[in-house]
């Protein structure tokens, strides 16, 4: 049963919220004057939703949070930096063989409210001419071809090719909210802030796989702005700071922290974990990461069940590969306690719930795939680092 994703601003609700037929439920992102306040599920009955009904549902669900947002607006101070000028920025999209997704992503980037940014597409060894053809349709976008596949390799290429202070990454299967970039950029008001991440909502929830993905692996990290440093967030838990789908880095991260680890993430056996590893390294060097839900983008989760299984495996592999990277780099014993805690407090209970077919737990095959990934992650990382050490083509 598909779920309609709705984006409603409490301050500008239409008289009647319309939606296409065939939905029995909505996932509503609630904003107040543009800033996300929360999300909740709303049952639909096929007819349009009159304004009063929506107000009632939102107030029931989010009363105190909305009141708080209203007060913040009345005072005119939300605690976020108000820099006189924003740093220069490149929007970087790393893509591989997804021309349709890429076109939608680039369209959203042209609609960004903030102007003056550069746009770069790093084509990570796509086959055929479809990808460069799509980029050619967007005159402002620069096309950079990377012959060797690998997401972290493409991210590094973007950082090296860019000439701006900040590089903002968005996945090719995501679209940016018009205020996305400026909300990211205004947080870079301090040299210690190496990275800013944002809120990622699902673009659509049309299939069971997408619903399950959103339940188990939501990108959202809450609706409050958070400042992470290694005191508040141990590097081993860096994944809580955000995700690569929605992150901006200072370009001098290359000099101060180093490039993304090319043994990690999509295109390598480790499948993911490149963002995790970068966040961990930023934190362990004492720098800060800001999570700001005002920086909103929308991700289209994979639709097919086999893609979900594959993602679960990749997620497990990536996290454990990043643990392996951290152990190799710092010999931080926290990787063992953290992985044990994760297994006992999250993965095993999830497996039991799904075997008992508890509602909202998803199929057990997903958890099992994740666990298989975890087992394979460290070896995959070792294999990839060996391959990298042997040089290109090795």
């Amino acid at each position: 049963m598909p779920t309609k994703v709705l984006d409603l601003d409490f301050d500008a609700l239409p008289a009647c919220v319309e939606y296409p037929a065939g939905y029995r439920r909505a996932l509503v992102l609630v904003r107040f004057k543009g800033v996300p306040v929360g999300k909740f599920h709303l049952p639909l009955n096929g007819a349009g939703l009159p304004r009063e009904k929506v107000v009632e549902a939102i107030c029931r669900e989010f009363g105190p949070m909305l009141a708080d947002a209203w007060l913040t607006d009345w005072i005119g101070h939300d605690g976020r930096p108000k820099p006189q000028s924003l740093p220069s920025a490149t929007v970087a999209v790393c893509t591989r063989d997804r021309p349709d997704d890429l076109a939608r992503c680039l369209e959203s980037v042209t609609r960004l409210r903030q102007g003056g940014q550069q746009v770069m597409v790093v084509d990570s060894a796509s086959r055929g001419a479809a990808t460069p053809d799509v980029v050619a349709r967007f005159p402002g976008a620069r096309y950079v071809r990377e012959e060797q596949p690998g997401l972290d390799r493409a991210r590094n290429r973007a950082l090296r090719e860019a000439s701006t202070e900040v590089v903002a990454f968005i996945d090719d299967d995501a679209i940016a909210d018009p205020g996305w970039l400026s909300a990211l950029l205004r947080n870079f008001d301090d040299s210690e802030i190496m990275c800013v991440t944002g809120l990622t909502m699902p673009l659509e929830l049309e299939t069971n796989s997408q619903e399950t993905f959103e339940q188990i692996y939501p990108f959202a990290r809450g609706f409050h702005r958070k400042v992470h440093d290694r005191w508040s967030l141990p590097p081993v838990c860096a994944g809580r700071a955000g995700a690569g789908v929605n992150m901006a880095l200072r370009r001098d991260v290359l000099a101060k922290i180093g490039p993304f680890d090319e043994a990690l993430d999509a295109g390598a056996l480790t499948r993911s974990g490149g963002d995790n590893d970068m966040f961990a390294r930023i934190l362990s060097r004492g720098y800060r990461i800001i999570y700001d839900p005002a920086a909103l983008n929308w991700h289209r989760h994979r639709r097919a069940p086999e893609e979900l299984i594959s993602q679960a495996y990749g997620y497990g592999a990536g996290v454990y590969a990043a643990f392996a990277a951290m152990w190799r780099r710092e010999h931080d014993i926290a990787v063992f306690s953290t992985s044990l805690r994760w297994l006992l407090a999250d993965q095993l209970p999830r497996l039991v719930r799904s075997l008992l077919k508890r509602p909202g737990s998803g199929p057990s095959s997903v958890v099992l795939a994740e666990l298989r990934g975890c087992l394979a992650g460290p070896a995959a990382y070792a294999a990839e680092t060996r391959r990298l050490a042997e040089g290109p083509g090795g």
């Binding site: 107030c59 004492g286 010999h331």
Partner: protein
């Protein structure tokens, strides 16, 4: 002499003359780098002089400086070692510029450094421009290097924060500029303090009505060479200096760190204080052991424990400094209790919030009171007290205070006026106001 670049005076504004004063002690390479960084600034050479004061020392600094051929007037003063405060005063006494720019010898100035300092004084004779610097840890990767870099950044983070009330502690002698007349009017640096002579000057400048302003574009790279041991032992001098600050300016006693540390009752903190005052020999042994434990803790990547131990060390040596000046806990309590200026007697301005935050802020800007009482209609929202060694209230302070401190009573007052026109939201306002009010107590103010 280079011609004046046209970009300098788009408005026809005339740039003031600058005297850059750099005290230095046995750091030939550093002071050379600092002076060289002033070469290509595009600042009119005729309006610039640089004065290096060599404060004793026995290296090649004087010979090195004599060989430089800078595009501006460079004077070198040599004196017997008297400390950096005396060296700065000596440089200032000889300075001819309208604006004095003080930098440390381990600074490297950014390309527009001079112009930004000069511009910062446009339109005011009583402004103090606080320059910005970023610490360069010389490639050192360690918990300590990262922590020290973070501490410097934190100071500027606080100054940058919306609504920051500038205080005596914001004056860092490493990079600031002040009109020469103002500097002489307040009497320059006090040479009796070991480290905090900049804080002390900050106090007298604020008392003389100076306006502090953070000028981030007047930037330097700070080539940091401190070691963990030196930083920790520096707290000893800071403890001593805080006592001296309190003696010079009794109204600062409620806001120096020893005041809230004394009231902070966590057991480890009390033990450290007791050790420093009553058993210093034992305490010093214990501190040495703790300091040598930091390296293994870092090796085992126990950051949280490492930071706790380091914080404990800092607190201990700070108390040791206080104890060398005051002698006993009894004297400390007398010192902290001694009658001081009495900021409670300052007349507070009544500020009405009913017409919105902007109108109230305007009112504060017009009056610049030391303290204020906030009302919404006839309801009392709260009091903003005068803080010693702190600038007077301005409009920009108001919204952050309302947001961070007075949220509960403000919401309670607003909820009663049913302001939104959406009855369900108004119920939520009242509900949230009740929740917040249950937890609200008028804040205990401290710096």
């Amino acid at each position: 002499m280079r011609p004046l670049p046209p970009a300098l005076h788009p408005s026809g504004a005339i740039l003031p003359t600058l005297s850059v004063i750099i005290p230095s002690y046995n750091r030939c390479d550093s002071v050379r780098r600092a002076v060289l960084s002033l070469y290509d600034q595009g600042f009119p050479a005729a309006q610039l002089e640089v004065i290096v004061v060599l404060d004793g020392g026995a290296d090649d600094s004087a010979a090195m400086l004599a060989q430089l051929r800078p595009p501006f007037r460079l004077s070198v003063i040599e004196q017997t070692n008297q400390g950096s405060a005396a060296a700065r005063n000596r440089g200032a006494a000889q300075a001819a510029g309208e604006i004095l720019v003080f930098i440390d010898d381990d600074m490297e100035c950014a390309a527009s450094f001079l112009i930004e300092h000069a511009r910062a004084h446009n339109g005011s004779q009583r402004r103090v421009a606080l320059g910005y610097f970023e610490a360069d840890m010389q490639g050192e990767v360690s918990y300590f290097a990262d922590q020290l870099r973070g501490w410097w950044a934190e100071m500027f983070r606080q100054m940058r924060a919306d609504g920051h009330r500038f205080a005596y502690k914001d004056l860092l002698s490493g990079n600031f500029s002040v009109p020469r007349r103002l500097f002489r009017e307040v009497g320059g640096f006090d040479v009796t303090l070991l480290r905090h002579h900049d804080y002390e000057l900050g106090y007298r400048l604020l008392a003389a009505g100076a306006e502090f302003r953070l000028v981030e574009a007047a930037a330097c790279i700070h080539h940091e060479r401190s070691s963990l041991h030196r930083t920790v032992m520096g707290k000893l001098a800071e403890g001593r200096d805080d006592v001296m600050l309190g003696r010079l300016h009794p109204d600062l006693r409620p806001v120096v760190p020893m005041n809230w540390l004394r009231r902070y009752l966590a057991l480890p903190s009390r033990i450290l204080m007791r050790l420093a005052f009553s058993f210093p020999a034992l305490g010093d042994r214990f501190a040495a052991i703790c300091e040598s434990a930091l390296r293994p803790l870092e090796y085992a990547r126990r950051y949280a424990t490492w930071l706790r131990v380091l914080t404990g060390l800092n607190i201990y040596w700070y108390w040791r400094g206080v104890a060398t000046e005051l002698g006993s806990l009894k004297k400390l309590d007398e010192f902290l209790k001694a009658p001081h200026g009495g900021t409670g007697t300052v007349a507070a301005l009544g500020v009405q919030l009913e017409d919105g935050v902007a109108a109230a802020a305007k009112c504060l800007d017009a009056e610049r009171p030391a303290a204020a009482v906030l009302y919404y209609g006839d309801r009392l929202i709260g009091r903003i007290p005068a803080l010693p060694g702190t600038e007077r209230l301005a409009g920009r302070h108001l919204a952050p205070l309302l947001s961070d401190v007075f949220r509960a009573p403000l919401l309670a007052a607003l909820a009663d006026t049913r302001p939104t026109g959406v009855s369900l939201l108004e119920n939520s306002l009242a509900e949230l106001a009740d929740q917040l009010m249950q937890r609200w107590t008028e804040p205990q103010w401290r710096v």
